[in-house]
């Protein structure tokens, strides 16, 4: 049964603290994500780590804001600008960081606090399912 596409997309905005990777975001973040893909090659990782600003010159379609967020490793911002976490994983993996380390930076918690939360059952969905309905 086909769902109405407008209703389908509108519901995503009702989830607290979550950016669903829609085609709109995919278009906005195309160059962030393609940039990240380039780091799957060892020689590119080397060039990036050696001189990040210079490496970014090879990506003229990135906006200045997107470039800055990449330099800052500001993953929350990068998601706002159309990045996707699986693509951004190439960036933090190149830094030798794990998903847990990178993801924790978006939560306002330290890595250790976040890791402890995960070990004691994770974050409860209570109150975090819907902005409008508050459950």
């Amino acid at each position: 049964m086909k769902q109405d596409i407008h209703e389908y997309l509108a519901e995503f905005d009702d989830i607290p603290g979550t950016r669903v990777y829609t085609t709109k975001r995919a278009r906005q973040g195309y160059w962030i994500n393609q940039f990240a893909m380039s780091l799957m090659k060892e020689e590119n990782r080397k060039a990036w780590l050696e001189n990040e600003e210079k490496y970014l010159e090879g990506w003229p379609k990135l906006t200045p804001e997107q470039k800055q967020a990449l330099l800052d490793r500001d993953y929350d911002k990068l998601l706002d600008l159309g990045g996707n976490i699986y693509f951004l994983a190439k960036v933090f993996s190149t830094d030798g960081k794990s998903y847990l380390q990178a993801v924790s930076t978006m939560t306002g918690m330290s890595v250790d606090e976040y890791r402890d939360m995960m070990l004691s059952g994770g974050r409860s969905p209570e109150g975090l399912r819907s902005k409008s309905k508050g459950y």
Binding site: Y8, F12, Y86, A89, Y99, G122, R123, P125
Partner: protein, 282 residues
């Protein structure tokens, strides 16, 4: 004729692959995560259970497919696939050897059955595919069976509906049962369970919801088929949507199944680790 003999599902957390590759599985953090796979490791190598072929349903995490190509359902048809370099070098795991005759047969059969499969020859396979193999088979020199990669888009919205996935599973079953070679074929659905890898809601885990999902693979698959994407997102976190891939596995097993084994552990890295073994009931 070929037959679907069992279905297995499991999370495919990348940190699990790293734990295996770096020899950390005996560390306190990892022991309870891996313990739930001991049963399966023994079960799957018994001659009566050992698959000749695994159809391994997984999602590519921006490894083989970048933003230039986003196939909803893609079936690997080449003779072999290498582990992908995801930013930290390829995992030191064996090459994935395909049963290309069966893969091409499934592709043709599903297309004729109105599932418009994308056919992939050249691709590397990432943790989505190799982590479940490590969990079920450990660290052998060669994987003990042939593997058909079946990649599903669950990254860019909309991914396929749960119902579509379930029905693809049924079409795969029909395809397998019309293949003339005597083969034991398993279908694996991977990914999930609840997890969110972004924003202030990162780290979300919903044990109650995950448990109901595991229960209903046996008790009420109709409920799971009808579940809209928004429910996965709200209840199981933004990356919990991977669970639609489990429904391809479930659809391939027929109407009735028996649960042989399950395992649930919080947390492996950011994720609720879930695992189940199901057998079709005639």
């Amino acid at each position: 004729m070929a037959q679907i003999t069992a279905g297995i599902s499991s999370s495919h957390v990348p940190a699990i692959g790293a734990a295996v590759d770096l020899g950390k599985t005996e560390e306190d953090y990892w022991v309870p995560a891996f313990a739930g796979f001991d049963w399966t490791k023994e079960w799957i190598m018994k001659p009566e259970n050992k698959p000749d072929v695994v159809i391994l349903v997984y999602n590519d995490h921006a490894s083989a497919f970048d933003m230039n190509l986003i196939p909803t359902f893609a079936i690997g048809c080449a003779d072999e696939f290498q582990p992908a370099d995801e930013g930290w070098g390829p995992r030191p795991v064996p090459t994935v050897k395909n049963h290309a005759d069966l893969a091409w047969h499934i592709a043709q059969s599903c297309i004729l059955d109105e599932f418009d499969m994308t056919i992939i020859n050249k691709m590397d396979v990432d943790h989505g595919l190799t982590v479940p193999l490590s969990l079920m088979f450990g660290q052998p020199d060669a994987w003990p069976c042939k593997i058909i990669p079946l990649a599903v888009n669950v990254v860019t919205y909309p991914p396929p509906s749960g119902n579509r996935c379930y029905n693809l599973g049924r079409a795969i079953r029909d395809a397998v049962e019309s293949f003339p070679e005597d083969l034991k074929v398993q279908v694996w659905g991977t990914g999930g369970m609840s997890h969110q890898l972004q924003g202030t809601r990162a780290g979300l885990i919903n044990k109650e919801w995950d448990t109901a999902f595991l229960d209903d693979l046996t008790k009420d698959p109709e409920r799971l088929r009808k579940m809209p994407h928004i429910e996965y997102l709200r209840e199981a976190g933004s990356e919990g949507i991977e669970l639609v891939m489990w429904l391809i596995m479930r659809g391939a097993l027929g109407d009735k199944v028996k649960e042989l084994h399950r395992h649930y552990h919080v947390a492996a890295s950011n994720t609720a680790l879930g695992h189940i073994v199901l057998e079709p009931v005639e």
